[in-house]
Amino acid sequence: MFHSVLTDTLVRWILRAGAVISALVMLLILIFLLIESWPVLGQITPTRFFTDASWHPLEGAYNLMPMLSGTLLASVGALLLAIPLGIASALFIIFYAPAFFVLPYQRLIELLAGIPSVVFGFWGLTTLVPLINQFHPPGASLLAAILVLTLMILPTITLTTHSALKAVPDEFLHGAAALGLSRWGMIYGVVFPAAHAGIVAGIILAAGRAIGETMAVLMVAGNVVQHPQGLFDPIRTLAANIALEMAYAMDDHRAVLFVSGLLLMILVMMLSAMAGKIGKHKYV
């Protein structure tokens, strides 16, 4: 009797210790990002990240704006392409596909969800960039970044939309059919309103992925620090900037990179908090 109570207590404490460590990892990451960015954050006013003349970290010019705009433009562009494609894919699987197409197409999307970003980047670099280059040099550009990101987040949007659509109760579908609604009438009028929370949460999740993506964008975007004038201009994203400059960054420069990491994390955290909030809502 006593023996088992003792092991129970012991096991409980071991489990508790494990959980505490797991929870502390997040805190540790935040603390270290803050410590490392402190040399800059403590000295200069944060507005300088937006008002400095340019990004020349070695000369003390820390304008993050071009990179921020690059990140946002690439992500928004990718979302604009991936949302219709992803939703169409999910609709196809659930409502439109002939029976023998459902499984192969679903497998294809699942397969793509598992392809690592570096492979997407590599393919973009060897196939897309030369292709775009033929139309409009230099090829490595905002457009290439958008296309590669689209491919990367498309499976995410398809799979989340698919499960949101699957979760719509049959009663709604039968009710709609019994009223003589056509297929699109049912999808547009009943299914989308019923599933919109899940779909939006999935899109936000995908947006977080697009903003945080490093390797694929790094490989195809050209990495010139500038506000792009058009789709064919090269851009540099925040994440890519970190990957590019970390290797040789010293002192303040290194600290600024950590600041941009912190900025990236806050952006993504806000998005995932939003997704969590929306995902909980049902039928409102």
Binding site: P169, E171, F172, L173, H174, G175, A176, A177, A178, L179, G180, L181, S182, G185, G189, V190, P193, A194, Y283, V284
Partner: protein
């Protein structure tokens, strides 16, 4: 039962509200039985398993026909074959013929959407769409090409009055339909079906998921609809069938397949059934 039925509708119309269901247009129901749905040798299979075997049955215009019988005897399958909702169930095979107004609805040229517009359906579980109360009614209207604002609004108000919901919801038409109570949701579903002005209403145990009071309200509503609509109602509640129906069809399970045992005037089925199974069932001995 039946003579009372006619009177009940008549008395109902004494209230002079322009929007409630008016006096009967086509005389007392069921004096002159004219079949509107003719079912011939209808068999239904779900992935090879027979759910319904060779049912032949006429449904008469303007009457309430109750389908009674134990669970799993194919009543609901029968109902969903009439508006071809069986199309939605994969591996469901329908044999035989159903004619509505003399035309075969399983004909390939039949437009299923138009058919379902003419044949409304109310389900066991109230399932208004996750939209506002107003949009629950306007959505199917617009879908069927009724887009004029004034028409849509007047139809909406009229059907809500018809189901007695107008006074309860007129000040919150844009709130979520799912915030209504169960009985209100079911009446909204009925209103939604009525808005398309169908000829026929199929009801699959419309009261069984409701509490007794709400169930009473819905039942009253159904008996008031009689004469205006041809109603086919599945119910487990024999007393209810007896109260509201003009005709009754009794289904039973034989060798795991549902079959029609007896069909006739409601009074005959309950008071002088010809089949011993029917007698046993309606007297509560079996089933």
């Amino acid at each position: 039962m039946n003579p009372d039925q006619g009177k009940a509708v008549q008395t109902d119309c004494e209230c002079d509200d322009a929007y409630t269901l008016g006096p009967l247009q086509m005389g007392p129901p069921c004096c002159d039985p004219e079949p509107v749905i003719q079912v011939e040798d209808l068999s239904l299979q779900y992935s090879g398993k027979t759910a319904l075997q060779k049912v032949t049955l006429d449904i008469y215009r303007g009457c309430i026909t109750a389908l009674i019988g134990p669970s799993g005897c194919g009543k609901t399958s029968f109902l969903s074959a009439i508006n071809r909702l069986t199309d939605l169930i994969p591996a469901c095979q329908v044999d035989g013929r159903i004619r509505v107004d003399g035309r075969d609805i399983y004909d390939s040229a039949c437009n299923v959407q138009a058919l379902r517009r003419q044949i409304g359906m109310v389900f066991q579980k109230p399932a208004p769409f996750p939209l506002s109360i107003r949009r629950n009614i306007t959505l199917p209207l617009r879908e069927h090409g009724i887009t004029q604002r004034l028409t849509v609004e007047s139809i909406t108000e009229q059907v809500l009055r018809d189901v007695g919901l107008w006074n309860e919801v007129c000040d919150r038409m844009d709130t979520a339909a799912l915030s209504l109570s169960g009985g209100q949701q079911q009446r909204l579903c009925i209103a939604r079906a009525l808005a398309l002005s169908p000829q026929i209403l199929l009801m699959d145990e419309p009261c069984s998921a409701l509490d007794p009071i709400a169930s009473g309200v819905v039942e009253d509503l159904i008996s008031r609809l009689s004469g205006h609509y041809t109603i086919v109602i599945v119910t487990h509640n024999l007393a209810q069938a007896r109260r509201i129906a003009n005709y009754a069809a009794f289904f039973w399970v034989k060798e795991r397949a549902g079959q029609l045992v007896e069909f006739g005037h409601c009074r005959d089925i309950f008071e002088s059934p010809t089949h011993e199974l029917t007698a046993a069932y309606v007297n509560g001995i079996r089933g």
